[in-house]
């Protein structure tokens, strides 16, 4: 119980939340995030007013998917910016050395900062719920859709947060850490799509109707939008007749959780002043 309490009263977590909520930037980020999301959803609703009807299940599902993808896209923009300066920012502000000489371990510092950034993203996610309520008005959204989206978002947030943390610990400068984080996110979001397109284009004659090559499955499983889409709507591209060796949705969840753990471990490694001190050997010397 005490450990649980200590965990939640972790000084870095508390300080990060306190500082974040005091900056002028925070309300502007929330405003812009909700403004863009709400604006796009309301624009779609007004543009396709004639085709989207209350109680029409397909309309509801379509809007829900649109909202989910929009959220993924916006998070890809916000998360790297929020996380990539967490450690390098401390380094640039010249507060890191002081922090490293306290009783906090590198693992605690990395984990607390990571958790603080995720808390902020969760705040954005939760604050977007009213927009989801608008979409739910149209009906046709199964409960498992909602849980699948939430789970997918959580894993995506965890991964992107870990990626930002790793880059922040690895690179000395926040600018470089931010650029590398954005580039990596872009490679996952756009690069994988291009790669998939090119591979399908060049390999098309060799593709058999009832069998999906493993590399397609892996790329689909690594891509956030495709994996989510296939998790929600399995008959995408008429692939429902195919037998998946690896289903993209659970593959995505699993692989990005593993990546996240590795990245957090790497961030801790690069933050530690004396790396890989796994055991103690020396005894206290009498002075």
């Amino acid at each position: 119980m005490k450990r649980w309490f200590t965990f939640w009263t972790n000084p870095i977590l508390m300080k990060e939340l306190q500082m974040r909520m005091r900056t002028k930037r925070t309300p502007w980020i929330i405003f812009a995030y909700l403004g863009i999301m709400g604006g796009i959803v309301l624009s779609v609703l007004s543009l396709y007013e004639d085709n989207i009807n209350l109680g029409h299940t397909d309309s509801g599902s379509m809007l829900f998917l649109l909202l989910a993808f929009l959220q993924l896209l916006l998070m890809s923009f916000v998360l790297p910016g929020v996380t990539s300066g967490l450690i390098s920012g401390e380094r640039e502000r010249q507060t890191l050395d002081i922090l490293l000489t306290t009783s906090l371990s590198s693992r605690q510092i990395v984990f607390s900062k990571w958790l603080a950034s995720l808390s902020f993203i969760l705040l954005l996610f939760i604050s977007s719920f009213p927009i989801y309520v608008i979409v739910f008005l149209y009906g046709g959204i199964p409960t498992d859709y909602l849980w699948k989206v939430i789970l997918h978002f959580l894993v995506t947030i965890i991964f992107m947060g870990s990626l930002g943390m790793f880059c922040s610990a690895f690179f000395k400068r926040t600018g470089i850490a931010t650029v590398v984080t954005y580039v990596t996110v872009a490679v996952i979001g756009i690069g994988l799509l291009i790669l998939l397109y090119l591979l399908v284009l060049f390999q098309e004659p060799n593709l058999h109707k009832d069998e999906i090559p493993i590399w397609i499955e892996i790329i689909c499983g690594l891509h956030p939008v495709i994996s989510l889409y296939l998790g929600l709507v399995p008959n995408m591209f008429d692939l429902n007749d195919f037998i998946w060796k690896i289903h993209p949705y659970p593959f995505y969840l699993l692989i990005y959780v593993v990546f996240s753990v590795l990245l957090l471990f790497g961030a801790t490694y690069y933050l530690s002043p004396v790396r890989f001190r796994l055991w103690k050997t020396a005894k206290k010397k009498q002075i």
Binding site: T95, S103, K284
Partner: protein, 309 residues
Amino acid sequence: MIQIENLCKTYQQVPAVNNLNLQIEPGSVFGFIGPNGSGKTTTMQILATLLKPSSGKAWVGGYDVQTEAEEVRRMIGYMPDFFGVYDYLTVMEYMEFYGACYQIEPSQSRKVAKELLELVKLSEKQNHYVDELSRGMQQRLGLARCLIHDPKVLILDEPASGLDPRARIEFREILKKLQQMGKTIMISSHILPELADLCDTIGVIEAGKLVTSGAVSDMLVPKNQARTLEVHVLEEVKEAEELLQQSEYVQSIRVEKNCLYVKFTGDSTKQVQLVQQLAKANVPVLQIFESKLNIEDVFMKVTDKEGNS
């Protein structure tokens, strides 16, 4: 309290610290002197568990800085040469944050923070944001932050750099109080006269090597060496010089206007005899005193010798 044995640190085969051996006694104030890039900060960072030495060992309070870093961190208060503060945190919140980092109970942390802010004369600023404080105030706050967990050892790297004379004097007074409280202080500074005033022992480091170390008093008045007497006369300089040269205890004399700088090997009794001889010969002596080295002279002398060798 601090012991360093054959400590080496190299950066891409360039030695920053080269076979350093040092011992600092509990309760003493040790001044670490050296030119820029001599290895002071590297040594201090190793002691603060921020750097891994290439070879050699170091202990703080009997704990190995490499293998018992956690215990070492509990024993030390470290203040780097440059440090920043967090935005949007008040002075009290800043102190409480570091208190929490050392796992001090919030109520206890607040109590200690108040006492420390009193010590560094920042009580009135406890509700101000730290980034709004002046540089001198931030340095004092940094020192208070170092003390939040009541460390036995303070490692202060250039704590007075960038401070105006008043802030430096205030800072020095606080350090004197800490010295009286029995803290072991290791301090590096470029303002050498201040170190002489504050420190019991000093160590001069150059190119990663400890050139000399010892008690400040011994450094300023070297034992078994000729003392320099300054003899100021109103006139008859020539006669005074001839008279002084007759003494077997006078090694050499250098004359500048009406002042004679005499290298004298005799003790106080012989010095009195010398004065009497001058008086007997009616040399109008204005004053005689022993000229002492200051810490800057010691530093220049030691580093010059090292440079020439």
